[in-house]
């Protein structure tokens, strides 16, 4: 919503700086996008008259003019426009003037300098409409009306000594009444503590308009009563379509509307004043396009029929459907109601007779139409915000009055007014005490009623048994007011939110509820980020390509109906998709070794039964890659090491690792099944704890690696945090270490590669558990070579000490032989040392 402060000052008696007005709007009405004073932009531009015209001696396409502006000698200017004549009035840009158009479009605004064009000096410039920011024409110098006063600053003549304020439309979403200057004036007046009274033509108007000379037939039928609560219209004859006078053009330009001709401009002017969109139709075109009539303009408000089309004023052809409301003649649409007029009935220079329409359309219907057809006009912007049907008539009558005063046409019909809205005045009971509680204020009844009356509310104070309340009736244009809270807001706003003393709420001291996921995420970040891993945050969106590259099924993904691009059209089913992609990008930046992780939600197409919403789980995914290492050992083990660091920090023990190739796919939860293809089945395992399957850790699958151009040494893991938080950490209790000397013994076994390290370790631990020992088992080395082939050697280091006495050599020997016997018997292992 753009407004001119000069126009504002015509409605409200204020004597404050424009800067202050901007501030007040910002603090009491809504966000101001920008404000600027046009005067500064038009500095050093004056009205001048051409007094001499000559050909350029050296250039066919240039003319040499002399102009006067009431000061000093005539000034010579060279111009490309050769069509100007002596006596024409122009806007003269003095040397040093800035071209207004360039202020908004160029980084360095264009400053006029004295120049030499093919040997003839030029001392300034005569501006085109575009250079003056008053239109699009930049091929010709703009010729001003004959009566333009020579020597007057251009800004003054064009009423540009004005501050333009743009209020964010979003802030006025529910305030249709603030889309006219009248509404803003009313608010500003109340903010300044002044009573505002809407002008007579807005509140009390005379409907008894009579045709002056001729009488034209207009017949209106409303077949869409439910969404067209009011339709008013009037016929005009003897219409003189011409360029609008300066005041009108100037007003529209300042409000961001392009002048067209006097009739169209006046409809837009009413919209600027009160936010009521008007529409002018060419009466003769309406009749000539209608095969069923010769002397009556038929206007029918109805829903469009499927596949009906209309050529809009924007020269685009729109195909309509049953949900679009149109204005039609007896056969076909001539306008899309409340949104855009039709080209067929457009008012142009030849128009002699006009139907002027001022109607009210339902906000929801208009919004849907603009969304469906992608048309965003000033009229639709206003109708979408719920306008007051009561202002149809004042809008129509005010336009007619100006047209009559300017002698642009004569009234040629009575007023047509089809009204279907019957809305009782809404009365809301306001309890001052409640209002003060909600706002945190101590306003008196007088203060409250004054604010409301200044905004033209009707108020009535009632009292009964020491209790006071106020009966409040909002004015008809305040269609946003429904409940007492809406009025609290008005009072808070006008009083000034910033005049409210602030105070913290009083609350019982209770600790917040535990949120396990939030806590575990924090712990994991702590561990990983302190272990060389970088946390990343990635889009939830991926493209189909990502599914192909990872061997994933894209049928399991949620698809976006309105994606920004094909690469962002699906919701990822695993965070690994993003990490694989980002690993690739970082390798391209010549990163050699890194570990990157993300904690986030991923979506598998699956719903929660009762809410019909997708199941949302938090996952931790991590990828690690190293281009420098030259090894045949699997990155599985580095990935697992990261994972174990996390488990150790969380106090989680007894983790079970089963190779994918040795696991039954049927038993796996869906999110693990989904990512199986990302891993090497012989070199990645399912992680489970206490029977809960948490995720996968391991080496990235050969083809996934290739598809992402990852180096050989690339591993990853993904675990489900919702499952992880279900696992109870083992309770840690302090145990005293024995005081007796500690023994250390290294043991080396040779066995089949198939034998699991953990099984062996468990055997050793079980044997140690039976003794009265404090002990520790460590792995020193796992070895194999070509000679050993399918066998490997594991070297353990045992440490221990007895709680009651020194554990002597013979006892150690017995213990070791127990271990060896067990391993040799059950695992076909051979003890080497």
């Amino acid at each position: 919503m753009r407004l001119s402060t000069n126009l504002l000052k015509k409605f409200v008696d204020i004597n404050i700086e424009d800067k202050k007005i901007v501030e007040l709007i910002q603090e009491h009405i809504g966000e101001v996008d920008y404000s600027h004073n046009l005067r500064d932009a038009y500095r050093d531009i004056v009205i001048a008259e051409i007094v001499e015209k000559k050909d350029h001696p050296d250039a066919d396409k240039l003319a040499v003019y002399k102009i006067e502006y009431g000061e000093g000698d005539p000034i010579q200017i060279v111009a490309g426009d050769k069509n100007l004549e002596v006596g024409d009035k122009v806007a003269y840009f003095k040397i040093g003037a800035v071209v207004p158009y360039s202020i908004l479009t160029e980084e360095e605004p264009f400053v006029i300098k004295k120049i030499n064009l093919r040997g003839v000096s030029s001392n300034g410039m005569m501006g085109s409409a575009r250079e003056l920011n008053l239109g699009n024409d930049h091929t010709r110098v703009m010729i001003l009306p004959e009566d333009a006063p020579v020597g007057k600053p251009f800004a003054e003549y064009y009423d540009l000594n004005d501050t333009i304020i743009e209020i964010e439309n979003k802030a006025l979403t529910n305030r249709g009444d603030l889309f006219g200057i009248l509404g803003i004036s009313r608010e500003l007046s109340a903010i300044l503590g002044q009573k505002f009274v809407s002008p007579d033509w807005y509140l009390t108007y005379d409907k008894k308009l009579k045709p002056e000379e001729t009488c034209l037939n207009v017949k209106v039928i409303n077949d869409a009563e439910a969404i067209c609560p009011r339709y008013t219209a009037l016929a005009l004859d003897n219409v003189r379509v011409e360029e609008s006078p300066v005041w009108l053009k100037s007003t529209l330009i300042k409000c961001g509307i392009k002048p067209v001709n006097n009739i169209v401009d006046i409809t837009n002017y009413i919209s600027v004043l009160i936010g009521q969109p008007l529409h002018a139709l060419d009466y003769d075109k309406v009749i000539s396009n209608d095969p069923n009539t010769k002397d009556t303009a038929n206007i029918i408000v109805r829903m469009a029929q499927p596949e009906e089309t209309i050529l809009g004023l924007d020269n685009k052809l729109y195909t309509l459907d049953e949900e679009t409301m149109v204005i039609a003649d007896s056969t076909h649409p001539i306008a899309i109601a409340g949104v855009i007029g039709g080209k067929e009935t457009e008012v142009d220079e030849k128009t002699k007779r006009v139907v002027l329409e001022s109607a009210n359309f339902n906000k929801t219907s208009i919004r849907k139409t603009t969304m469906r057809l992608g048309i965003f006009t000033e009229a639709a912007t206003r109708f979408k915000r719920n306008l007051d049907p009561k202002q149809c008539l004042p809008g129509l009558l005010r336009a007619t009055e100006i047209i009559k005063n300017e002698n642009w046409a004569t009234v040629a019909s009575e007023i047509i007014d089809i009204c279907h809205e019957e809305r009782d005045d809404l009365t809301i009971t306001l309890f001052p005490e409640e209002l003060n509680t909600i706002l945190g204020t101590e306003l008196t009844i007088k203060e409250i009623t004054t604010i409301l009356e200044n905004l033209e509310y009707t108020v009535e104070v009632r009292e009964k048994k020491k209790e006071t309340w106020i009966k409040v009736t909002p004015p008809s244009w305040r269609r946003d007011i429904e409940i007492a809270e809406d009025i609290y807001e008005d009072i808070g706003r006008i009083f000034g939110f910033n005049n409210i003393p602030i105070k913290l709420p009083k609350k019982e001291i209770v600790p917040p509820h535990k949120n396990s996921i939030v806590e575990i995420k924090k712990s994991i970040r702590e561990v990983l980020s302190n272990s060389g891993a970088n946390e990343s945050v990635n889009y939830s969106f991926v493209g189909t390509n990502s599914f192909k590259k990872c061997g994933l099924d894209n049928n399991l993904a949620y698809k976006i109906q309105n994606p920004l691009s094909p690469e962002l059209s699906l919701m990822r089913t695993t965070l690994l998709q993003s990490l694989l992609l980002k690993a690739r990008e970082n390798l391209e930046r010549e990163e050699e070794a890194f570990t990157m992780y993300e904690i986030n939600i991923a979506h598998l197409n699956n719903y929660i039964a009762e809410s019909k919403l997708p199941i949302e789980n938090w996952y931790l995914s991590c990828i690690m890659t190293n281009t420098k290492v030259n090894t045949t050992s699997s990155p599985y083990f580095v990935a697992k090491r990261y994972l174990e660091k996390i488990f150790r920090y969380l106090g989680i023990e007894n983790i079970q690792y089963d190779l994918i190739s040795e696991s039954k796919e049927l038993d796996l939860p869906p999110y693990i099944k989904n990512i199986l293809n990302i891993f090497e089945p012989n070199r990645a395992s399912i992680i489970s704890i206490e029977g809960i399957k948490l995720g996968i850790v391991g080496e990235i699958n050969v083809s996934v690696k290739e598809n992402h151009k990852l180096p050989e040494y690339s591993g990853a893991f993904e675990i489900n945090l919702e499952d992880l938080v279900k696992i109870k950490p083992s309770s840690k209790r302090y145990k005293e270490r024995p005081v007796y000397p500690e023994f250390t013994k290294d043991l080396c076994f040779e066995m089949s590669k198939e034998t699991k390290y953990k099984d062996l370790e468990n055997e050793i631990v079980q044997i140690l558990e039976k003794e009265n020992l404090w002990y520790k088992v460590e792995c020193l080395d796992i070895y194999s070579d070509e000679k050993l082939k399918e066998r490997k050697r594991i070297t353990y280091r045992l440490k221990g000490s007895d709680f009651n006495k020194t554990f002597d050599d013979s006892e150690i020997k017995t213990l070791i032989s127990k271990i060896s016997e067990k391993i040799e018997k059950d695992y076909e292992g051979v003890r080497l040392i």
């Binding site: 979003k170 807001e489 003393p501 990635n538 920004l564």
Partner: protein
């Protein structure tokens, strides 16, 4: 040309035959290995006459894609895609493994993401003020995103939120207010004090200042006799603690269907002492969030009696706060996962 073309069709025929009989690894070796048929055919391009190169190149590439696609399909079908020997998944390291690799990886410069770091800090502050935490959903329904927040169907304010929708009609939340109704029900009856952090989405083109994906934290406070005055004081106190400085604050009117009155919270720029700098756009003020008193309809929808209770809510973008604090000039850096960026934090 004739010869080579025939050759390519031959490879294709034999591949189709082998597809049934050979394992993934065998197929790979035979066709895409160093001496594989397709690899050889690719090499052959050097010997093709110049003018025929484009056609041959195209054909051989089509063949390569065909072979690759079939191979990856085979992976999915059989899961018999590797010739790599089994490892012992329970072992602490691989056979003959050099522990140097671990030490090197674990000694890299790790980092927390600046966004989550700020979120953690903010949640810590709210938690210390007694607020519960409930994280936001990333796919939600129209009821939670709009209807429960007093946006009936067709409400023009819905246009303020350029929402993504899934093909099955669900909504990607455009604000964390999508959790308000749930939070009010979960933690009710009042007193309720809860913050709702989460990822949000808006369907808008990205540039240095705009992202389609961003992070918000919403706060909700409901009790008896809660006022707008309480709201300003609460938000001010939390921001002062977060920015570790005293702040000048003001609030401006705004419009949200789910609050009444609705406001914009503005702070005096703490970076230039309100003298004007690039962070505050040389105005001395920074608009930091939307806030307001919770609309009675929103309370009612969550079975809280607005005659008895009142409350306030506020919501802000963490991206912007983090950017201001950390001097990040382009919002896109946050989700690019560029290690040069990540390692700075």
């Amino acid at each position: 040309m004739e010869y080579t073309h025939k050759n390519l069709s031959k490879i294709e025929t034999s591949f189709n035959k082998d597809l049934e009989n050979l394992t993934y690894a065998e197929l790979r070796e035979k066709y895409l290995g160093k001496k594989g048929f397709v690899t050889e055919a690719l090499r052959e391009i050097a010997n093709i006459p110049h003018e025929q190169k484009p056609i041959y190149g195209k054909e051989v590439n089509t063949l390569k894609t065909l072979v690759k696609e079939n191979l990856s399909e085979k992976i999915q079908q059989n899961r018999e895609y590797t010739s790599k020997p089994k490892i012992d998944p329970t072992a602490p390291s691989d056979i003959n493994e050099d522990s140097q690799i671990y030490n090197e990886m674990l000694a890299l410069k790790g980092s927390k993401h600046p966004l989550t770091k700020e979120v953690e800090k903010l949640l810590g502050i709210f938690s210390s003020m007694g607020f519960d935490i409930l994280e936001s959903r990333q796919i939600d329904d129209d009821y939670n995103m709009f209807q429960s927040l007093n946006f009936p169907k067709g409400h023009p304010a819905r246009d303020m939120y350029d929402t993504f929708r899934t093909e099955d009609g669900l909504v990607l939340p455009a604000h964390t207010s999508t959790m308000q109704n749930r939070a009010l029900k979960k933690f009710g009856p009042p007193p309720i004090a809860v913050v709702l952090p989460g990822r949000c989405f808006r369907n808008e083109a990205t540039d240095a200042g705009h992202e389609h994906t961003f992070h918000q934290i919403e706060g909700v406070y409901v009790d008896k006799n809660v006022s707008l005055s309480n709201m300003i004081a609460t938000i001010k106190a939390s921001l002062e603690r977060y920015l570790e400085t005293d702040l000048k604050v003001k609030i401006q009117p705004a419009y949200f269907p789910f609050t009444e009155p609705d406001c914009e919270f503005v702070i005096g720029c703490p970076f230039c002492n309100m003298t004007g700098c690039s962070t505050c756009g040389h105005s001395g003020w920074i608009e930091i969030m939307g806030c307001g008193m919770i609309h009675p309809n929103v309370l009612k929808e969550a079975n809280i009696d607005p005659e008895v209770y009142s409350g306030f809510a506020w919501g802000f973008g963490v991206d912007r706060l983090a950017m201001i604090k950390l001097n990040i000039d382009d919002i896109r850096h946050l989700r690019e996962s560029n290690l040069n960026f990540l390692r700075q934090f």
